[in-house]
Symmetry: C2
Subunit: 328 residues, 2 copies
DNA sequence: CTGTTAGCGCGTTCAT
DNA sequence: ATGAACGCGCTAACAG
């Protein structure tokens, strides 16, 4: 691979001069510049960002840690991040944590060894050890989706979104509202959305029965089974079900339709996420849009801020939008 | 940031010794090793892959160029790539070409400047200039999705998939089959799938009318409009429509259902891609599964081969599976 | 305007 | 078993 030295020799100048035309810093004589450019042209020389980074202590790479690489949310977010970051010449180094805390920490180290200029972490569980790890990190880091104490984080407004959705059901006249959540270890999706539901029920003096509550994971079949459980064990059946995820909600619909129920006549359903599926499933699913793409952009911007001026850790909460559709 | 020199000083040994315990090469006295380890522990020192790479000429990073980062296909593929590559300690540097040839070439250079060990290119249009660019590349590269002459490429079997789908329609008794494609500049999706359709029609002595053919892009609304065009201009209306993409097909369904038609009673539909949508749309869409995740794995494996032993450019064609569902 | 010198952080002979 | 010396490719400080 051709290096700056080769170019220097070919153009019979010093490396320094080559470097100067490369970064067009200071002035280089027209003739020298031309000879250098010619040599570069001829050899197809491309400077090593690697060596440069070693010298200037900056890589123009930011690491992005995802819980799952092939989900709609992830790809939307990454898209937004890239849109913003690429404008400033940064590239993205991907890291897939596969929902494993161990891997999250591992990747944090890996990215550090690569001396990335910044890190964006889409966290799932906010473990204490992870928290410590990040705070000790000498690299600007911002978390997306989960609030991590002491760390710049941008979060969705899970609590209020859940409140609104629950209230929407109530306004439509529903009183018996089932809830399908996920593990509360997931502060955002598991805990906050559930709290929004519970609080809103309480504020409206509605009782919440145990057999209306179920827990699933992040996929469709788990929604199916959760609904089945509720349906089979409820002494009093719900007239509406709030699933914390579109995919869960779609699993719910599957089960109910299999049972011959009519949605929304017999029972209403809502999810969260504004997945593409939610729009084309029949009946179309009521959900809330988190603007993931925009969230990615905002997060990237926060990171850029942090990388430029080492300021305090900020917190920001994103907006959302209820999308009322036929499922209710 | 703490460096190998700091550790050396703290442990009162030379850098060389530190390097030795890091890569546990040759023998280091127990005491020395302990002192080094202790210093590392205390400082949280993490070696710079950067500096190391400069020395050993290997970065353990591969670049992945995508046409569009937030599509189902892309994310499945990237997932597969990551699954395979991460097992060998490689990380992924993402590059988004946004379907622009110019950016594709630009990213090729960018990745080169980062001295990635390999490149995976999900190409869309196989331009001559791109072809030259890749062949001149001093970095092992493999293309996915498009056959690029002289370059290791793994492709989907677009031609036969299209044939099978068309034949399926014919076997069901259809004679008037419409076709919605994309620009033929896209060899795989545009040209080959169309050829499969045309050839199969011909082999069955079926005529293809101009007004049964339309062209769209890669989104749902474009399918809607293409179908509208066909529907409004056809002097003789088709009883089936083959869209080269699930998203196009879903747009088709939208239009037809809006017109009050019953699918599949009045008209049958099929797409390609096995998108999640295809499964949950009503009626469920007949499509073909390209096993994108597996494709990513295979591509990664090819790249690994190429990176280890500089062998010739290979070609391989992937399998596929017809998924017959209610839309026909 | 240009070259010399001196590292950036690390691995690798080659001695000892 | 250990260290000195050198170089990977590049930029920056300093002279001239």
């Amino acid at each position: 691979m051709v290096t700056i030295n080769d170019i220097a020799k070919m153009a019979s100048v010093s490396r320094t001069t080559v470097s100067r035309v490369l970064n067009n810093s200071s002035h280089v004589s027209k003739k020298a510049r031309e000879r250098v450019l010619e040599a570069i042209e001829k050899t197809g020389y491309i400077p090593s960002e690697h060596a440069k980074g070693l010298r200037v202590k900056q890589t123009n790479v930011v690491g992005v840690i995802l819980p799952k690489i092939s989900t709609e949310t992830s790809s939307r977010v990454v898209n937004g991040i890239d849109e913003e970051l690429s404008r400033y010449g940064y590239q993205i180094l991907l890291a897939n944590s596969n929902l494993e805390l161990k891997k999250e920490i591992e990747h944090l180290k890996l990215l550090q060894s690569r001396r990335v200029d910044g890190i964006i972490l889409m966290a799932t569980n906010v473990d204490k050890s992870l928290q410590e790890e990040i705070k000790a990190l000498p690299i600007p880091t911002v978390a997306l989706g989960q609030e991590i104490p002491g760390v710049t984080s941008v979060v969705y407004d899970d609590y209020h979104a859940a409140c609104d959705l629950t209230q929407l059901f109530i306004n439509k006249g529903h009183r018996k509202i089932a809830f399908i959540g996920v593990s509360e270890e997931d502060k955002a999706v598991g805990y906050l959305r559930k709290k929004g539901y519970l609080d809103t029920m309480k504020n409206n003096n509605l009782s919440v029965e145990d057999f209306w509550m179920a827990q699933g994971t992040f996929n469709i079949t788990s929604g199916y089974h959760a609904m089945k459980e509720i349906w089979e064990t409820s002494s009093e059946r719900p007239t509406a079900v709030f699933a914390v995820t579109d995919r869960l909600a779609i699993g719910v619909m599957e089960y109910l339709q299999e049972k011959g129920l009519n949605i929304p006549k017999d029972i209403s359903i809502a999810g969260i996420g504004a997945s593409e599926l939610s729009k084309y499933v029949r009946p179309a699913l009521t959900t809330v849009d988190y603007f993931n793409n925009e969230a990615g952009k905002v997060t990237a911007r926060h990171l850029l801020d942090k990388m430029l001026e080492e300021n305090e850790s900020k917190k920001s909460k994103l907006g959302y939008r209820l999308i009322e559709r036929d499922s209710l």
